[in-house]
């Protein structure tokens, strides 16, 4: 799961995979801006075939937060 998540993030933000970990956030990754974040949400939804609730998307402050939501949605591939 992590690997696929990192891949999508690295693709959408156009940064090297090695730069991404669970602590990656808008604070330490300049490519993470508000619009790119919406693009990311959209592509994660499509790739993992899930739908985030609006309030869940508001709680995502760093990459690790995606994993918490995945658990809630039962994504563990």
């Amino acid at each position: 799961m992590s690997e696929k998540l990192y891949q999508i993030i690295s693709k959408v933000f156009n940064v090297d995979n090695s730069k991404i970990d669970d602590e990656t956030s808008p604070e330490n990754l300049e490519e993470w801006d508000s619009f790119n974040f919406y693009v990311l949400l959209d592509e994660i939804e499509n790739e993992f075939n899930i739908k985030f609730d609006l309030d869940e998307t508001l709680e995502i402050k760093k990459v690790g937060d995606f994993k918490k939501i995945f658990q809630k949605h039962g994504v563990d591939k």
Partner: protein, 586 residues
């Protein structure tokens, strides 16, 4: 035809684009009543992939009024070639969007009139102040009404939006505004569905009114405007036969067993052919490039009861065992069109690759194995779009048929002069008028070979010239025993002073070139000059990669070279070819 159509792909690609020296340049502005991040990036990438270097300007959110009305705005400084104004119903109606039925019926008309006038005024101001084209998206008809199934009355919510759209279409699209075009947004909504293109989460989060997943698809809808304005639109579809126009292989399956008509596979080919025929009727040229025994294949085209396209629909037929690339080159040569205006449909992936590799100018469609997808693949192509269908477009396929017959006569008669005599050519010379101006502009934009100066003029420029005291804008209609060729030549003369005229533009469609019509045109100019007391006619030859056929024209007619100009002294005359009958209509 991209493999990856995600928005992130376009956002990332856009960062890598570098302008090319020889690319066609296009300046595109976006104005909108909502967030349109991602639009300009997608457009730049799509342009780049089609040989266009696109420079964009994106106005600040919701600033479209100021950008158009204030002459110091960034939009004025940017000087766009094309401007997209993306409006949306929520924005235009404001709170009325939710509470339409709280407004007394009697007031609704006034509100709609006001909203319509606001958009209309923006368009008119734009038309007066910009050289750019303006594409305005029509308003989305709401898919929900609080009235539910009882919705539908006069000036109800849906009807009100429909009325605004209808008026805009009527004023601009129908009434042939040369600059303002209305894009039918509801076509986009209908194609992909409102529940897909509008995502509430994205709307509440970032005022995104076209969902991220569908932004690339929306931009693709706008590309039709971009292709035609940049002059990269396609004119000709070249088709393979086996498994492209019918199912199966004629050489193996035989006339009775190919799939065409009343079975699931056969229906897909019939539908595909019907789509092609409709395009052909509005001016797209069709040609065949197929490896087959000529007699086997032509029998299907002539006699198969379910065949939709017949011989007369094809301007050029290459059914032989020659190389497909060589055939394509011959088709381009015989039809006198560039390889870059051709689209190639062939089901065989090997042929697709081979043509892509050998002739990168040709657009090769990635036809899948499943023929049921052919009609949709074709109807989603934006490469055939033109801003306006002219009379010449709708007559084009007949003209090419005439051309085929002319060629046959020429081959039969053998002697070229004798052939010309038998053609009964009639040339009608006319001053530009509101009917011919769109076509004259189109000729200046598209004619490459017999074009002395290759100056490109938009419709409104031609219109300005034609009403100017200092210019003469005339065109020629050519007719012969095989049919009407329509308006195929034009010239624009600048009256420099009382002694001298300058040839600003002089061109003739390549279909007509070499039959004496060009001499008739120059003869007209000289006669006109003489009767106005003009002593000298001056013209320039501006060489391009393609206009070699016109290179020696001045010299042949007795112009003398003086510095960069060719000069004709009107004491002399230009001999009129005797085989042409000239009709003046001034």
């Amino acid at each position: 035809m991209e493999k990856n159509e995600n928005l992130s792909y376009f956002l990332n690609e856009a960062k890598t684009i570098k302008p090319r020296e020889l690319g066609k340049k296009l300046r595109v502005a976006f104005l909108a009543s909502s967030t349109i991040n991602g639009f300009e990036e997608t457009m730049r990438v799509k342009c780049y992939q089609n040989g266009i270097d696109c420079i964009t300007y994106v106005a600040d959110y919701n600033q479209y009024n100021q950008e158009i009305l204030n002459q110091n705005s960034g939009l004025y400084q940017f000087k766009p070639d094309i401007t997209f104004l993306i409006l949306d119903t929520r924005h235009i109606l404001g709170e009325h969007f939710f509470s339409w039925y709280s407004i007394p019926h009697s007031d609704r008309k006034e509100i709609i009139d006001t909203k319509h006038e606001e958009i209309q005024n923006i368009c008119i101001t734009f038309q007066e102040n910009f050289d750019s084209k303006l594409v305005v998206t029509s308003l989305q008809i709401p898919n929900y009404s609080p009235y539910g199934i009882s919705e539908g009355g006069d000036y109800g919510l849906k009807d009100a939006i429909y009325k605004i759209n209808h008026k805009l279409f009527n004023e601009f699209q129908e009434h042939n505004s040369p600059k303002i075009f209305i894009y039918d947004f509801n076509e986009f909504v209908g194609k992909f569905g409102e529940n897909n293109i509008f995502n509430y989460k994205q709307f509440f989060s970032g005022d995104i009114k076209i969902s991220i997943e569908y932004i690339p698809k929306f931009v693709n809808e706008l590309m039709g405007y971009v292709y035609t304005i940049s002059g990269v639109a396609k004119k000709c579809i070249v088709l393979d036969l086996d498994n492209t126009l019918w199912g199966g292989v004629i050489g193996e399956d035989g006339f009775d067993n190919i799939k065409l008509g009343d079975n699931p596979i056969g229906r897909s080919f019939v539908e595909f052919q019907k789509r092609l025929l409709a395009l052909n009727k509005r001016g797209i040229i069709l040609a065949i490039n197929s490896k087959n025994n000529f007699d086997d294949a032509i029998e299907v085209i002539q006699k198969h009861p379910n065949m939709i396209l017949r011989e007369e629909n094809f301007a050029c037929v290459k059914i032989n065992w020659d190389d497909k690339v060589v055939n394509l080159q011959k088709i381009a040569e015989e039809l006198n069109i560039g390889l870059d205006s051709m689209v190639f449909f062939d089901d065989d992936p090997i042929n697709q690759e081979y043509v892509k590799e050998s002739l990168p100018e040709v657009l090769v469609v990635n036809l899948p194995k499943d023929s049921s997808q052919y009609p949709q693949i074709m109807t989603e192509m934006k490469e055939f779009d033109v801003l306006k269908i002219t009379e010449e477009d709708t007559k084009r396929s007949d003209m090419y048929l005439g051309q085929k017959k002319r060629k046959e006569l020429e081959n039969k008669v053998g002697d070229f002069n004798e052939f010309l005599k038998q053609m009964n050519i009639e040339v009608k010379v006319e001053k530009a008028n509101s009917f011919s101006i769109p076509r004259i502009s189109q000729l200046t934009l598209k004619t490459n070979q017999f074009n002395l100066t290759t100056k490109r003029y938009q419709e409104e420029e031609v219109s300005k010239f034609s009403s100017s005291e200092n210019k003469i804008v005339e065109c020629v209609k050519v007719n012969d025993k095989f049919g009407d060729n329509g308006i195929t030549g034009t010239y624009i003369i600048e009256k420099k002073d009382n002694d001298e005229w300058i040839i600003d533009t002089f061109l003739l469609s390549c279909r007509i070139m070499g039959r004496g019509v060009e001499e008739i045109m120059m003869n007209q100019i000289v006669e006109k000059a003489k009767s106005s007391g003009i002593k000298k006619i001056k013209g320039e030859f501006i060489p391009t990669a393609k206009n070699k056929p016109a290179e020696n024209f001045y010299e042949k007619l007795g112009f003398k070279k003086e510095n960069e100009f060719w000069v004709f002294n009107t004491d002399n005359t230009i001999k009129k070819p005797e085989h042409i009958k000239v009709i003046k209509n001034e």
